[in-house]
């Protein structure tokens, strides 16, 4: 195990967790959605790093494509309605 790889791992995990936190703690919905899409991107790198190319392919295909589009559309609708959606279930 090369130290570079460990460094890479640490950096990757750090970025991943930081991003997840930023996304989950984000006050603004649309920002959370964009960050979630970026989170998917980083996750793809994780799958690649862990030698799971099948999973990486799936994550890339679904996260950037369908899932992202769906969430963006939902966030846009909420933003358009304007009201703070805190009263939602």
């Amino acid at each position: 195990m090369t130290p570079d790889l460990v460094l890479f791992d640490l950096l990757l995990i750090g970025a991943l967790l930081a991003l997840a936190s930023a996304c989950l703690f984000s006050a603004e919905l649309q920002r959370a959605v964009i960050l979630f899409i970026v989170f998917g991107l980083l996750l793809t790198l994780v799958w690649a790093r862990l030698q799971a190319p099948d999973v990486a392919l799936a994550e890339a295909a679904i996260g950037a494509g369908l899932s992202g589009a769906l969430l963006l559309a939902a966030a846009r609708r909420l933003a358009r309605r304007g009201g703070r959606p805190e009263d939602r279930p």
Partner: protein, 93 residues
Amino acid sequence: MITALLYTAAGLLLFCLGLWSFLMHRPLLRKLIALNVMGSGVFLVFVALAYRGPEGAPDPVPHALVLTGIVVAVSATALALALGRRLEEAERD
């Protein structure tokens, strides 16, 4: 093994972060994102325990399970968003 432990820890942290966010936020979209993060955490645990060093071929079974899990998660998210949209319409009327 260190790699697996490291990524397992990351997966568990994602799970717990997601759980926290799920419990603390009320908007549907936030809960969905939280659930997806939680799911990703679990998937990460699976993939981490499939990893067997840079040389060894990884265990394909957890990879397959995670693929299935991803499809399920996407399905659920899509359904939830559709219901949410319908609810908005119902509330607007």
